[in-house]
């Protein structure tokens, strides 16, 4: 049985290294861009950029899930998604708090990225050396997942609160309970694509398009939360963009499903029971 994800020779048009660079650069630049535009122009209209930035992180995470889980981890794909979000939430809180203590919110994403990367790599080493998984891509896969989980949570938190300040995020995202929504929405966006598409005919583009689609849904959820925290204009803008992303990628996903399926037939209504 050689279903080896990207590393094992399964077809993947996008190289994981390239995807990692796109994911990291896209999400970090996006979060900074949104935060700087918001604070420089004294508005919250650009909060939606945070949710768009999260999509890049989700793509990186979904590809890492795809690579690691193709080896079979024995406990189901959801476990690795929950691990990614568990590592991510710790990294986000730690990074934002330390940045606040150091007196500059600009340092936040960098500290988060470093902590998440190092912690994820160590978890990967533990999984291979102590628990004896012996999956060759476990270390870098877990580092990717940890960074992806952290950056996605940070992007969505920013989309809801409109700033990167620790106190604002604690008040707008944690105390209000919206963190629970983005936690599960983020988990779905990272773990669901491979869980839904796995099998011998799994294709990278179909899995990743599914990831973008679910991220669009998450953006609709953050949009609704943003209406309540930042006002109608900023929230509605986010909601509409999120819906557009979901709609476009849902159509594309359906096209890819039709491309890869042996046949797509309508079942019609349930037939009458034959005794």
């Amino acid at each position: 049985m050689s279903v080896g994800g990207g590393a094992g020779g399964a077809p993947s048009a996008l190289d994981p290294k390239k995807l990692r660079i796109y994911g990291l650069a896209g999400s970090v630049v996006g979060i900074y861009l949104g935060a700087i535009l918001n604070s420089a122009l004294d508005t919250t209209l650009f909060s939606f950029i945070g949710a768009v930035a999260a999509i890049f992180a989700v793509l990186m995470g979904a590809n890492a899930v795809r690579r690691v889980c193709a080896y079979g981890i024995g406990t189901g794909v959801p476990s690795i998604g929950m691990l990614a979000l568990g590592m991510g939430i710790v990294a986000v809180m730690f990074g934002l708090s330390i940045a606040e203590a150091l007196g500059s919110w600009l340092l936040g994403p960098i500290i988060i990225l470093v902590y998440a990367g190092v912690f994820g790599y160590i978890i990967g080493v533990i999984a291979n050396k102590v628990i004896k998984f012996n999956i060759p891509v476990m270390e870098e896969g877990n580092a990717d997942l940890s960074m992806a989980g952290a950056l996605a949570l940070l992007g969505w938190s920013f989309a809801i609160s409109g700033t990167l300040g620790y106190v604002d995020i604690v008040n707008d995202v944690l105390m209000t309970g919206y963190i629970a929504i983005i936690f599960i929405a983020g988990g779905l966006a990272i773990l669901h694509p491979f869980n839904a598409n796995l099998g011998p005919d799994e294709k990278q583009d179909r899995t990743l398009v599914n990831a973008v689609m679910v991220s669009g849904l998450a953006m609709v959820a953050t949009g609704i939360a943003a209406i309540l925290t930042q006002g109608l204009a900023a929230g509605l803008l986010q909601l509409v963009i999120g819906f557009a992303i979901w709609f476009y990628f849902f159509k594309r996903y359906y096209q890819l499903v039709k491309r890869d399926a042996a046949a797509v037939v309508g079942t019609g209504l349930l037939p009458p029971t034959v005794q």
Binding site: I73, P78, V90, Y115, I131, L174
Partner: protein
């Protein structure tokens, strides 16, 4: 950022012990996964992480509720353990009703010949082609112990976090993060399904102990550095 004193070391130790309790507790829970959902294996028909997270989060809620009326450590820990125990117990009980009355499967373990608690013979009741069905007494007892350990661990992580940053929502989310990392590492160690402490796979727990210890140290060091914000 709080100053580093003897209390900080105590907090770090509490979080590490909490993480280890979660990691070991997962091994006690009879996880059946998809085969159990089809009554072809012993245990509860879902994955390790879902069960551990379910019981752990109930434990967190119970501990948080107790913490709002008292700051006695023992009462808070007991509340967390009992809350998680009730959650996993009611899950197993209602699951058993479905196995007994809807699926109609006799409860039998395929890992032991005689139930260590009731002494009943098991092999005659294991259907051909399956690895046991339902939740036999030994699995139920083991699951209760596991759930209570998970709740105890969750409460033990939540308590120092709340003392450090004084923010309930932040402590709860951070505790969930620590909880999930330990639960997933433990479930990777089990690799699929387990019946409880009588299962041969249970002997693998030292690996999870070491893995969770390393992870918990790193998480605890981050946890004591964060502040409560507002």
């Amino acid at each position: 950022m709080t100053g580093f004193d003897i209390n900080t070391i105590v907090y770090i130790l509490e979080i590490i012990v909490g993480g280890l309790l979660v990691g070991i507790g997962v091994h006690f829970v009879p996880v059946g996964g998809a085969p159990a959902a089809m009554a072809q294996a012993t245990g509860i028909g879902t994955g390790t992480v879902q069960l551990a997270a379910g019981s752990g989060l109930t434990g967190l809620l119970a501990a948080g509720l107790m913490m709002s009326v008292t700051d006695n450590l023992w009462l808070i820990l007991a509340s967390g353990a009992v809350g998680a125990g009730i959650m996993i117990g009611s899950t197993m009980l209602t699951g058993s009703w479905i196995y007994a009355y809807a699926v109609g499967a006799p409860f039998a373990s395929a890992k032991v010949n005689y139930d260590p608690i009731t002494g009943f013979s098991q092999p005659p009741y294991v259907a051909q082609g399956t690895v046991g069905q339902g939740i036999p007494t030994i699995c139920f007892v083991s699951g209760l112990i596991g759930g209570m350990m998970g709740g105890l661990g969750g409460a033990m992580i939540y308590y120092p976090l709340f003392l450090i940053n004084g923010n309930a929502a932040l402590s709860a989310m951070f505790a969930i993060g620590i909880f999930l990392v330990n639960a997933v590492l433990a479930s990777w160690n089990i690799q699929g399904t387990i019946e409880g402490f009588h299962d041969p796979k249970f002997k693998k727990w030292p690996f999870a102990f070491r893995a969770c210890a390393v992870a918990s140290v790193l998480l605890a060091l981050a946890a004591v550095l964060i502040t409560g914000g507002a």
